[in-house]
Amino acid sequence: MKKVIFKNSNGDLIFTISVNFKEKTVSKAEVEKDRIEISKIYYPDIEAPSYTSLERLIAHYCDKDGCDLETLISHIEENGFYTPYRPNLRIYVERG
């Protein structure tokens, strides 16, 4: 289980979503107050998140279509995240 945390480049929290790689499931997103609009921009399926849509989204951001979510998240955890498609978005990963 890992927590995927979406922040802006100032470090302000936007939303958090937990991912269970074994069961290939995701939790409901915890969206910060007043941040639903920007959350929808960063993750259009925020209101009905799924493992598949999160995998597709992050693979798209990383220009790695078809890459599995676990590989992408592990890479982000170790190396950090930046995408030219959303230059102000940062993704952080925490265990738990």
Partner: protein
């Protein structure tokens, strides 16, 4: 002369370098106080520059799953060419549009900048060729000219992206394109306003469909109906009606003068800056001027005119002829110029305060870059210069300029 300046380490000291020596030799400053700035204004700007610089350094070593730099590094050489550093790969093919684009971290003698690069090369995902003519294959020149035009107006009333013509070597030999600053400020996301008919993951959230835009704007000829629809579309993204109208009219003013052929028919050329907090205003952004000031000109035209003894006269004649038929561009252009100007003025257009001398002088810089690298656009640039001079001399266009010129 000494002026307040910011060092790389973040301290403010006085710089005694002459203007021409700024950033060279013993000057280790990354920002200098401008004459028109107060000390307070400079300190605010300097802090912002320093923060940006730190952020760029943070991003510099990020790698992707394949071990490549996420944002490739390049170096600006003494010859003015931006060269990709060894072992790097440039470009983000999924960026919307025909041109190949991407971010680049550029080192310039110890200073590091992150820039958005738009090459004149086609996006590799597009199979095909540019349509014939330099207006298609070398739109970077037009974008530079239009950016300098916008920069020479003190009161456009709207936020605009400014592009600079640049020469690159990104692993494909010498090529041309533009660089621009990242136009997104902190806490802001940039969003295309109208669906570009795409099924992409991050583009599912459009509040205006391609068909709606096509029916109500792209194919509509009634200016009032177009304005009404656009204000409605902007409103769906929380842009207040008065801000929307002001933006649409002022942008249309620029597009009319610059003959922009890529606004009305292209829904992907409307962009908003959306703040992360719902309490802050959404800001429309003016961008993309590659299809302005269109005159058909090819490499063959360029080389033929070189051999003509009276090339200057021929260029002037072509430009004057084109300007005679000029009917403007943008949402409210392309038909009767007088009616377009009347419509804009009736809807609150604020005439532009243009520093014409500054604008025309900016062509020297462009010509210098071209000639330094032996690029064959010299006459094309002269043609564009004469063309816009003629447009600015048009009696209807003069109504849009303060003082009328």
């Amino acid at each position: 002369m000494k002026r307040l300046a910011l060092t790389k380490e973040g301290t403010l000291t006085y710089c005694v370098a002459k203007d021409e020596n700024i950033g060279k030799g013993r000057c280790n400053h990354i920002a200098h106080k401008r004459d028109e700035e107060s000390v307070e204004e400079f300190v605010i700007r300097a802090e912002k520059d320093l923060n940006n610089s730190i952020r760029v350094l943070d991003l510099k070593n990020l790698i992707d799953v394949d071990g490549l730099n996420t944002i490739p590094n390049a170096t600006l050489g003494d010859d003015g060419v931006i060269r990709l550093n060894e072992g790097k790969s440039f470009g983000s093919p999924k960026m919307v549009g025909n041109q190949f684009k991407g971010d680049l971290i550029i080192d310039n003698k110890g200073f590091t900048f992150k820039k958005f690069v738009k090459l004149d090369r086609l996006n590799p995902l597009i199979n095909g060729h540019w349509r014939h003519g330099m207006d298609y294959s070398n739109s970077s020149i037009t974008e530079d000219i239009c950016s300098r035009f916008i920069e020479s107006i003190s009161n456009t009333g709207i936020k605009s992206v400014l592009y600079n013509f640049s020469i690159f070597d990104l692993g494909n030999g010498i090529e041309t394109g533009t660089i621009s600053d990242n136009y997104m400020e902190e806490n802001v996301s940039e969003e295309l306003a109208i669906a570009p008919n795409s099924e992409r993951e991050d583009m599912k959230n459009f509040r205006v469909t391609f068909d709606e835009y096509y029916d109500n704007v792209a194919t509509e000829n009634d200016y009032n109906k177009i304005l009404e629809s656009m204000i409605d579309f902007f409103g769906r993204y929380r842009v207040k009606p008065d801000i929307a109208k002001k933006f649409i009219i002022q942008q249309a003013g620029l597009d009319l003068i610059l003959g922009n052929e890529d606004r009305k028919k292209n829904p992907s050329n409307f962009i908003f800056l959306i703040p992360s907090s719902i309490k802050e205003d959404v800001i429309p952004l003016n961008m993309d001027y590659g299809r302005c000031l269109q005159i058909f000109w090819t490499e063959t035209s360029e080389s033929r005119i070189e051999d003509m003894p009276d090339s200057e006269d021929v260029i002037n004649e072509i430009a004057m002829e084109e300007a005679k038929n000029f009917s403007g561009g943008g949402l409210f252009g392309g038909n009767n110029l007088k009616e377009s100007v009347d419509f804009l003025i009736d809807n609150g257009f604020e005439p532009f305060n243009l520093d014409k001398e500054k604008f025309l002088a900016s062509f020297n810089n462009l010509e210098e870059k071209i000639s330094k690298h032996g690029l064959k656009f010299k006459n094309y640039i002269k043609l564009k210069k004469k063309f816009i001079e003629e447009i600015l001399d048009n009696k209807e266009i003069k109504r849009m300029l303060k003082g009328g010129y």
